[in-house]
């Protein structure tokens, strides 16, 4: 029975490898295999739910992989499976005509199997192994984009490998301090020497996976160039799942930190910075997909803040928000995909026809998902946002203020894009496009409905999440919940007013919010490369290596010129001393004799 646990890794891996190497005339077989693999994976994730299994498999690398299947990663695997299924269906539908689709499918399966690997294992080395193995499928998927965007792929490779190195060092430290390679057996008190350093490095490594601030700059580029299913599956689902899973494990199992300690404050500040900056950039994006990618970075900021509050309530909030985020972000990306399919590009200028009429269903799912994204009550994300606000408030009120500003900005951004996409008057003549093909359409609707359903019956996901992490009674008093709800409603109204009524003055549809932001010159910040952390990092490295190059040139000069020069000088002088006439030589003989007498 436990052998079946290998299924999570073996099936996608085998399917991916087969899919890649089968000759192209079996395309239909390959598609079926692809969908079958993903559905089997999600089936098994559901099938295994609720069991506690400890199993040491020797599947890959002839190392023992110590699988441990229990509540937390079972939930994560269900979410991942579902997202993978939706993305797979959408991918099959949307990427039929493109060149290297099957490469993309293969790498998607590979990524799925490695992600399952990370979730399943209980050994640090294997965790790192699968964590960093994700880089190759990520590189492959981006490179499988329309015009082979290899530069973006390599930028992703560099950024994520640097981030993974931080994580690797954190893992090393914790193994050294904790003394064992097993995750379940390490429980390090923060006061031990080196534990703080380990916590910081692991936290950065994990948060970076979700796209925390300094490591985020590959996500917007990828969103434009990479194929859309990549953004849906990889960026929204896998990255967030793995990052939050590890963050929760760090905070819950690996380290013993008391709630209010200053480490958690720093971590929350780190999350808030990501949140604020990302949402500010989101407001200004020219491309709908770029806006979505910045928004998802912002949401990652939310989750980090929730986890960093160290309370069980915070962790439940983070997990809940993660699931909500995955659902509505997938739906928004599907909407973006549909528009791109129909319109050719999601640039502001690109939208030609009045989409409200031409694509009614997409419009409807956009509304549902947008509402969930903005945090409209009775939608999926509303409840998780409230819990995050509560946990942030319990730590410090300043965080709560920043969180609400963040959600205001995101609401403004989504509303702005809603108006632009669906309510703008078409410039040229109306081009009658029919709705997108059915298969692309189904996942969008499913995810949109999911937003609504889980919003209304939010008890179901809440119970699922809390019995995975730990029961928490809602210790926040009623008054606080009322205040939270009223503030968030106020935020929504504010956003609505800003977008609808004050957009006359500025043509880009952003009201007084944009005016406030202009004072901080955010938009210039966002556009030019100078402030992209990746470019800053590369520039610093080039400066350092030029300095080293000069050191080496100096050293070469020493070896090639000074040493031979001095040796030649000495030998030249000795050579000149041999003048050749006899009297000089006799003189030397005499000097030699005198020298001997002196010695005696």
């Amino acid at each position: 029975m436990n052998i079946l646990l290998n299924v999570f890794i073996i099936i996608p891996l085998l399917a991916g490898v087969l899919l890649y190497f089968l000759p192209s005339k079996y395309n239909i077989v390959k598609i079926i295999m692809f969908l079958a693999a993903v559905s089997v994976n999600s089936f098994f994730s559901v099938f295994f739910y609720g069991r506690e299994i400890l199993f040491n498999s020797h599947l890959l690398f002839r190392l023992d992989l110590y699988f441990r299947y229990y509540g937390l990663n079972s939930f994560m695997m269900i979410v991942l499976g579902a997202a993978a299924l939706l993305a797979a269906v959408y991918a099959v539908a949307s990427m039929k005509k493109e060149k290297n689709t099957f490469m993309f499918y293969a790498f998607m399966l590979l990524a799925l199997s490695f992600a399952n690997g990370v979730l399943l294992t209980d050994n640090f080395i294997v965790l790192l192994l699968f964590w960093e193995a994700l880089m190759i499928p990520m590189f492959g998927m981006i490179a499988a984009g329309k015009d082979k965007p290899v530069w973006t792929a390599l930028k992703t490779l560099i950024i994520s490998s640097v981030a993974d190195l931080c994580l690797m060092f954190g893992v090393m430290l914790i193994c050294a301090v904790g003394g064992s390679f097993m995750i379940s057996q390490t429980n390090v008190d923060i006061s031990q020497p080196g534990a703080v350093f380990a916590f910081i490095m692991m936290f950065i490594g994990a948060a970076a996976k979700a796209g925390a601030m300094p490591f985020h700059s590959w996500i917007p580029d990828a969103s434009v160039k990479a194929p859309l299913p990549f953004m849906v599956f990889m960026v929204t689902a896998v990255e967030k799942v793995l990052s939050i899973y590890l963050l929760i494990r760090i905070v819950k199992d690996l380290f013993v930190i008391e709630i209010g300690s200053d480490i958690s404050i720093y971590a929350m500040i780190f999350g808030v910075i990501t949140l604020l900056v990302a949402n500010m950039f989101a407001v200004y994006q020219k491309d709908f997909k770029k806006m979505l990618s910045y928004a998802s970075i912002g949401q990652a900021g939310y989750m980090i803040v929730a986890v960093a509050s160290l309370s069980v309530f915070g962790m439940v909030a983070a997990l809940f928000h993660m699931t909500a985020h995955i659902v509505y972000k997938t739906c928004l990306f599907f909407v973006a995909g549909n528009i791109e399919k129909a319109e050719g590009s999601t640039e502001i200028s690109g939208v030609k026809s009045n989409l409200r009429q031409t694509m009614p269903y997409t419009f409807m799912s956009f509304v549902l998902a947008g509402a969930a994204f903005a945090g409209v009550p009775f939608f999926f994300a509303f409840f998780s946002k409230e819990m995050i606000y509560a946990s942030a408030l319990s730590v410090n009120w300043a965080f709560y203020v920043c969180l609400s500003i963040g959600s205001l900005l995101s609401a403004v951004a989504i509303l702005n894009w809603g108006i632009k996409l669906f309510y703008s008057k078409p410039k040229e003549k109306i081009i009658q496009e029919k709705e997108v093909p059915v298969f692309m359409f189904i996942p969008t609707i499913i995810s949109a409905l999911a937003c609504l359903m889980f919003g209304i019956f939010n008890k179901v996901p809440h119970t699922l999440v809390s019995n995975v992490i730990g029961q928490v009674e809602n210790e926040h008093s009623v008054i606080i919940t009322v205040i939270l709800i009223s503030v968030s409603v106020l935020v929504l109204i504010l956003a609505f007013i800003n977008n609808v009524y004050t957009c006359k003055k500025r043509n880009d549809g952003l009201g007084f919010i944009a005016a406030a932001l202009d004072k901080i010159k955010i938009d210039k910040l966002n556009e030019n490369i100078k402030f992209d952390p990746y470019e800053i990092f590369i520039k610093a490295v080039t400066k350092f290596s030029n300095a080293m190059f000069n050191i080496d040139k100096g050293l070469n000069y020493f070896y090639d010129v000074t040493v031979p020069g001095s040796v030649n000088f000495v030998s030249e002088s000795v050579k000149k001393a041999h003048t050749g006439n006899i009297s000089v030589y006799l003189l030397w003989v005499i000097l030699g004799i005198i020298f001997i007498f002196i010695i005696f």
Partner: protein, 171 residues
């Protein structure tokens, strides 16, 4: 009679005449002076009571060698006036070396004194009895071989160095 002063005078005379022998521009004068030097050496040998060595020195070095030198030099052409002046000038330059040599000897002597040389007691039973002839012929065979070899090398030296190469003229 054979007090220390005689010997010192003789030694000084020998050194001075040998310097003159070296410094003369005309080679013929040098050869003659060389003859005188070897005569002085034979006198001092007689004084040091080893008559056989003295006789050999007198007859061979001052006699035979000087005669050969003079006869050969007289056969050669004397150097013209200008050449002689050039040679004499270079002679003066060498004098500097002489001064240096004297300094060195003085210095080494001084060093020897400063190290309070204790003179070694002479061997009591100096074997005057061994006749030099007997010594040469039966005790020291090896040196005979050495002398034979040197004679042969001398012979070959003359053959090799002074014989005109027949084929060189043809070339």
């Amino acid at each position: 009679m054979d007090s220390i002063y005689i010997h010192i005078i003789l030694l000084a005379l020998i050194i001075i005449s040998s310097i003159f022998a070296v410094s003369y521009a005309r080679v013929i004068r040098g050869a003659i002076i060389l003859g005188i030097v070897s005569m002085l050496v034979s006198i001092s040998l007689f004084l040091l009571s080893c008559p056989l060595a003295g006789i050999f020195e007198l007859s061979v070095c001052s006699g035979l060698i000087t005669v050969i030198f003079i006869s050969v030099i007289s056969l050669t052409l004397p150097p013209d006036e200008k050449q002689r002046k050039v040679n004499s000038v270079s002679m003066m330059k060498k004098m500097v070396l002489l001064v240096l040599l004297v300094l060195v000897c003085g210095f080494s002597l001084y060093m020897l004194d400063s190290k309070n040389i204790t003179f070694v007691p002479l061997m009591q039973n100096v074997q005057e009895s061994i006749d030099t002839r007997d010594n040469i012929w039966n005790l020291r065979h090896v040196d005979l071989i050495g002398q034979a070899l040197i004679l042969l090398t001398g012979l070959f030296a003359v053959v090799v160095l002074f014989k005109k190469d027949k084929n060189k003229d043809k070339k």
